[in-house]
């Protein structure tokens, strides 16, 4: 059955609906240090998807019983503005935002040297101001830049991008129609220095061979993202 608003084909003449190649990311721009009140912050746009991340802390843990005397904890809050989607979406926590907050915290935790910050919490807030698929990957990229900007000791940055499948073709960085009507979505967070994967979720169906192929595509894209993140952080303190 064809749903309302569904395009007939997601791939036309070997190109995607927005004219990208199969292994081409949307344009990325990152700016660090956009919120003066926060310890660290970053603004990121991935095509039409736009997110703002802010990091507060390390600071006292509230409620107190969550504090760990041996290491710090990372708390993530992912929220989507009510105007971020074409139809107004109800603000406040939802099943989806709770899930994304959780996986974000888990994707970021392996790179932060939490043993340097006992009994504290590092609070990461990400607000999606415009959603066009790939918000969780954009949120992780922005949060990682914001954490570094906050002067928190980390052993790597985290890069993240989604792969997927539409019209039987493996593609990188899905945008809205591909996300809604494609066959699979595979968001991954990748640590560029060590090559480890700290987040892997999958929606839809893919064969093991397809996942292998996508992983290669994603790794290549993540190396590019890593360069952009580095540049954004250097730009913040560049000699004027």
């Amino acid at each position: 059955m064809v749903k309302k608003g569904q395009p007939e084909k997601l791939i036309v003449k070997g190109k995607r609906l927005d004219g990208r190649g199969f292994d081409q990311m949307r344009d990325v721009s990152i700016k660090a240090g956009v919120i003066p009140e926060a310890e660290g912050s970053a603004e990121l746009s991935l095509g039409e998807t736009k997110v703002i991340a802010a990091v507060y802390g390390p600071r006292e843990v509230i409620p107190k019983h969550l504090a760990n005397p041996e290491k710090g904890i990372i708390k993530c809050v992912y929220t989507m503005a009510s105007f971020a989607t074409p139809d107004r979406n109800r603000p406040g926590p939802s099943r989806r935002s709770v899930e994304i907050s959780k996986v974000m915290a888990e994707a970021l935790t392996p790179v932060v040297n939490l043993e340097k910050y006992p009994k504290t919490s590092i609070d990461v807030f990400v607000e999606v101001t415009n959603a066009n698929a790939g918000t969780r990957t954009a949120a992780i990229n922005a949060a990682s830049v914001a954490l570094a900007d906050a002067g928190i000791e980390m052993n790597d940055l985290v890069t993240s991008i989604a792969g997927g499948k539409a019209d039987g073709q493996l593609i990188l960085d899905l945008f809205n129609p591909e996300d809604n009507y494609g066959e699979a979505d595979l968001p991954i967070a990748y640590l560029p220095r060590t090559g480890e994967v700290s987040l892997l979720q999958m929606d839809g169906e893919l064969t093991p061979a397809e996942i292998e192929k996508l992983l290669k595509m994603i790794k290549k894209a993540c190396e590019e993202l890593y360069k952009k993140q580095k540049n954004a952080l250097r730009e913040r303190y560049k000699l004027k």
């Binding site: 390390p58 910050y117 504290t120 906050a150 928190i152 000791e153 790597d156 940055l157």
Partner: protein, 240 residues
């Protein structure tokens, strides 16, 4: 293994960036070794000292250490001392015995007579316990309660720059403004003197904070202060 230095002194590096390869180099502060590579663990400036490579942070929260001199605000009054906010993730305590040299009978005297909630103190950290409780003292000179004056907060990582080599920067500020200046390692600065001059010092300090990572700052601040001092004088002369 080839010994290779991949960065220069004062380069801006991001967390996880490889600084050098080879076992001849040693990781200093905020750097770590992974197999044969030395990597940065914070966003900052590279500092190469012979074989030791360390990173000077550009941002980040204050973490208390023994013997740090800090400025704090009284947050609460307890049975036998005060709880002090020293603008770090951990609570700090000032005991009656450490507050004054006089003997005080806590049963008979009201502690708020000495220090009330909201007041600022200049104190020293005598101990940071393993569970991160901070204990302060203000027994000896020059530790005391801070009356009058202006208090501003800057990033604690910029404090060494504000003090300068052997105190050159802060001494210059003191001389050209005639103000008394006390600097806490936690990023709080107390300035007391002629109100107009106080404001001048505040402007100079925020300029130092903004440009802390750039060279030739002392000279720029000197011309800034010289210019402002000169302007004031001519204005007054024309008035009379």
């Amino acid at each position: 293994m080839v010994e290779k230095l991949l960065v220069e002194n004062k380069n801006i590096v991001v967390p996880g960036e490889v600084l050098a390869e080879g076992m001849n180099f040693l990781p200093g502060k905020r750097a770590f070794r992974e197999k044969e590579k030395i990597c940065a663990s914070i966003l900052g400036l590279v500092n190469i000292n012979g074989r030791v490579i360390s990173v000077i942070p550009l941002s980040g929260a204050y973490m208390p250490n023994k013997d740090d001199v800090v400025i704090g605000q009284i947050e609460d009054v307890g049975f036998s001392g005060w709880h002090v906010n020293i603008f770090c993730p951990y609570p700090a305590d000032l005991n009656v015995a450490e507050a004054t040299r006089k003997y005080l009978d806590t049963n008979k005297t009201e502690l708020t007579r000495f220090l009330d909630i909201g007041e600022y103190i200049f104190a020293k950290v005598i101990k940071v316990s393993s569970s991160k409780f901070v204990i302060l003292t203000m027994k000896d000179r020059p530790y005391r309660k801070l009356k009058e004056g202006t208090i501003i907060k800057i990033c604690s990582t910029k404090i060494p720059r504000l003090i300068g080599k052997k105190g050159s920067m802060v001494n210059m500020l003191k001389q050209s403004s005639g103000c008394e200046i006390l600097i806490g390692q936690n990023g709080l600065v107390w300035i007391s003197g002629d109100p107009e001059k106080e404001q001048m010092v505040v402007r100079a300090i925020s300029k130092i904070e903004e440009e802390a990572h750039r060279e030739g700052l002392t000279d720029r601040i000197k011309t800034m202060l010289g210019g402002e001092n000169g302007k004031k004088r001519t204005a007054r002369e024309t008035n009379s």
